[in-house]
Symmetry: C2
């Protein structure tokens, strides 16, 4: 799925910066290694791991070499060690506190999407124009508040990431409140590009653009 | 957001195949051109269009050159013509019929996501383990059926894309029914890789992996 960040960074290695193509593979390594650990597999060769993922062993080794020396010739990788290192690289070695704005279907889907909590992503509060009590959220300890309280909430609670699942028309206004409140990362699902200062990372999930890529590939399949 | 397809194609130009990086920019061009057309802007230079998108004019011209000769030296692009060409390239010059399986929060969010219908993506039916009447869908003419009817539905209705918004555990079973039913494209939101034959295009939306990329970028921001 293309993001505005892809465009700006152009999937190239710029100076000492690590290519976005490499960064995007890290979560996939994380997923496969987590699966291996759940299956209590202790050790894997770079060839086996690469084959599972569908890349070459040399690509895998090259990707990992940006971050350090992992694995041993003839032994491969110790799954728990490599997972720990990748978690550290991804910033998953500590909790990441999140708020979500826009508790419609998409917002609720994200709040209940599996696998966030176990990776340390903790939703602390949800904001909506019309806050209602959602039992499943309340039981998880996720507060639901009116959006008018977002500014004060951010002043009182250290928050890392703001997730925007509002309609397009509200997204920039919400982003402005998040940025003024000191948020450093925005995960945007609203179908509109957001303006943000350089020091704020915006990861834009363009759902419809993913569908257009699928349409292209289908159309050019033959 | 990384997809399994990214990994396999590796964002490189393979032989005569057009690079995934180029393909992923097409929906972004489509979005900007649609916006321009809505604003009744008739003409735009490659420099202006590229600047809006955040790439260089030469990148834009190079991307478009894979598909034909568009625009004129000194005039730029006629918005309606270029949009029409890009729509054709993306397969949006005819309707694309879709079914969605898994009508939970995520499924309903996708069904009501803006901008699909105007691009020709038509949801014909929704399937769920526990089908319930959802007024907003019924008013759009989208039928809700039990999943046990999916196989027969596909035999009777020409369908281009199956959208999977089920839990991970059900996704492969649903994909198998779709594939056996002749579906050529699968848009998968379930957090699990799917097995599919070569002739079926699977576009995988890894929502949690997008969050991990954001986490990485935040962690390496300083």
């Amino acid at each position: 799925m293309p993001t505005d960040r892809d465009l700006k960074r152009g999937n190239k290695k710029l100076g000492s910066e690590i290519a976005m193509a490499v960064i995007k593979r890290l979560p996939i390594y994380q997923r496969y290694l987590s699966d291996l650990q759940k299956k209590e597999i202790e050790r894997i060769s770079s060839g086996e791991l690469a084959a599972k993922i569908g890349i070459t062993a040399s690509q895998l080794r090259k990707d990992l070499s940006y971050f350090g020396n992992f694995g041993q010739q003839g032994y491969g990788y110790k799954v728990s060690d490599l997972l720990k290192e990748i978690n550290k690289i991804l910033g998953l070695d500590h909790n990441i506190y999140m708020v979500l704005i826009g508790a419609g279907n998409l917002g609720r889907a994200i709040l209940s999407y599996p696998g966030f909590k176990e990776r340390g992503f903790i939703f602390k509060a949800t904001f909506d124009q019309k806050p209602i009590v959602i039992d499943s959220l309340a039981s998880e300890g996720i507060e639901m508040r009116p959006i008018s309280e977002l500014k004060d909430y951010l002043a009182d609670h250290q928050t890392d990431i703001g997730v925007i699942t509002t309609p397009a028309a509200s997204a920039q206004g919400v982003a402005d409140i998040l940025i003024a409140g000191g948020i450093k990362g925005i995960w945007n699902f609203a179908p509109v590009p957001l303006k943000a200062p350089e020091h704020v990372v915006v990861e834009h999930v363009h759902i419809s653009e993913s569908l257009l890529v699928l349409s292209y590939l289908l159309h050019h399949q033959d």
